[in-house]
């Protein structure tokens, strides 16, 4: 919802702190998630994540959430899905070139980042190209997997399972 999305940017600091706490809670639940099976809990967790973040941020479920690096303004709401800053077409009133009724998500991101400790430094980081395979999957579970296993294995594990694919060779014993 657009009004809530703007509210979230105004409260970027609190939301970021809240997420940090939530994330460490999730990481502590890794044992439980692993026991239940990450692929089995993926659909319900993704549904909850979509509901919560959809309401607060108009989340598009790209599966590679960068809200903490974009001042709690979701870059996937940019009509060009820019993840590295605003295009050159921002209007003089700070609105979007493509959707004149919408405020530029990057003008908002800049404001939100100033409210988050370390937010501006995070905005300066280059965000790599999105992996379109992650679309619709849970960022929360991906983060837990990344934080609890070696990077290469986590990256392989966080991908949607391929049907009839050979077993990945890099899975740790």
């Amino acid at each position: 919802m657009y009004a809530l999305r703007l509210w979230s940017v105004r409260h970027a600091r609190g939301l970021n702190a809240l997420y940090r706490g939530f994330e460490s809670l999730l990481v502590r639940m890794h044992g439980l998630f692993a026991a239940l099976g990450y692929e089995r809990i993926e659909p319900p967790v993704a549904a909850v994540e979509h509901a919560v973040k959809g309401l607060l941020f108009d989340c598009r479920m790209c599966g590679q959430c960068v809200l903490s690096s974009t001042g709690m303004s979701c870059p996937m709401n940019c009509p060009k899905t820019l993840r590295n800053g605003p295009c050159g077409g921002v209007r003089d009133n700070g609105h979007c070139e493509v959707k004149p009724e919408m405020r530029c998500v990057w003008v908002e991101a800049f404001k939100g980042s100033e409210r988050i400790p370390g937010g501006i430094a995070a905005m300066r980081e280059v965000q790599h190209a999105v992996d379109q395979r992650q679309q619709g999957r849970s960022s929360w579970l991906r983060v837990v997997r990344e934080k609890t296993s070696p990077p290469a294995a986590a990256a392989a594990a966080a991908l949607p399972p391929k049907s009839a694919a050979p077993p990945p060779k890099s899975v740790p014993p």
Binding site: N84, E97, V107
Partner: protein
Amino acid sequence: MRFEDEPVPGYPLPILPGHTSPGRFERVLRAGGFAVTTELAPPDSADPEDVYKRARVFDGYVDAINATDGSGANCHMSSLAVCALLTRIGYAPIMQISCRDKNRIAIQGDILGGAAMGVCNILCLTGDGVQAGDHPQAKPVFDLDCVTLLEIARTLRDDHHFQSGRKISYAPRVFLGAAENPSALPHDWRAQRLAKKIAAGAQFVQTQYVYDLDLLRAFMDQCAALGLLDNVFVLAGVGPLRSAKTADWMRRNVPGMHVPDATIARLQGAQDQAREGRNICIELIQQIREIRGISGVHVMAYRQEESVAEIVERSGVLQGRVCWYPGRDSAQNSQNRTAV
């Protein structure tokens, strides 16, 4: 500026130490010259002569020609094809790649293909939204953005592999560029955004039209404060305004275009508005040249391309230098002979 080894169409020049491309454009910039680039409006036609006609009007006055990639989201001959035609006879194009119409598979293929045909410069752009052009019903792609496009192009060149990790046997030897708009909001963020582009691989930057030099100066000061100017060549975007009416239309309808009221008022007060537009452009070029850290100008004269030569000539920025064009040296030789 004359190099010992002038280009022979179809044969790449050697790459000088510290250069990433064999192109003349990079050579002019790294030699400390004040570079002039322009933009070729690709024809709505399949006739190669339409491209050559449009290129010839710039002969002697530009170091490189941007081949636009569906600029303004309008359909025209592709940038890759325009570049292929231009390199065939030795012109130095800057191939523009926009993320709007192609995904990473197509774009990486174009980078290899362009380089294979002699393209030495690539300008990485996000692209205008489809709503701006003549096909608003089209699907916007935006698989990449300009920063990730730069990253992927640099990976191809320096690390010799696709984004997938698959190796390529011969890397594209290209000089990579980006665009920036010092006039667009948020002003405080523009230089930092350029820093990201440089971190991702940008070696030169061409700006959007600049009519408000205070904004450009502020942008350059921010770039200097961030220490960017040692790592990038900045070419400021300029262009003649045809009339007060067009200027006003452009600032209302062209994304990211800012024209101060004072400029419009000056045009309104002139008897010959088109001539006054060219005068304003020449004055801007002369003032831009004095700004520290600026390495050249990018002259965009949409639908008045024939005025570029006059503007560059009268601005005096080339200081008598005749930029290379096919046949330059034979033309000059014959002139010299008649003079003798």
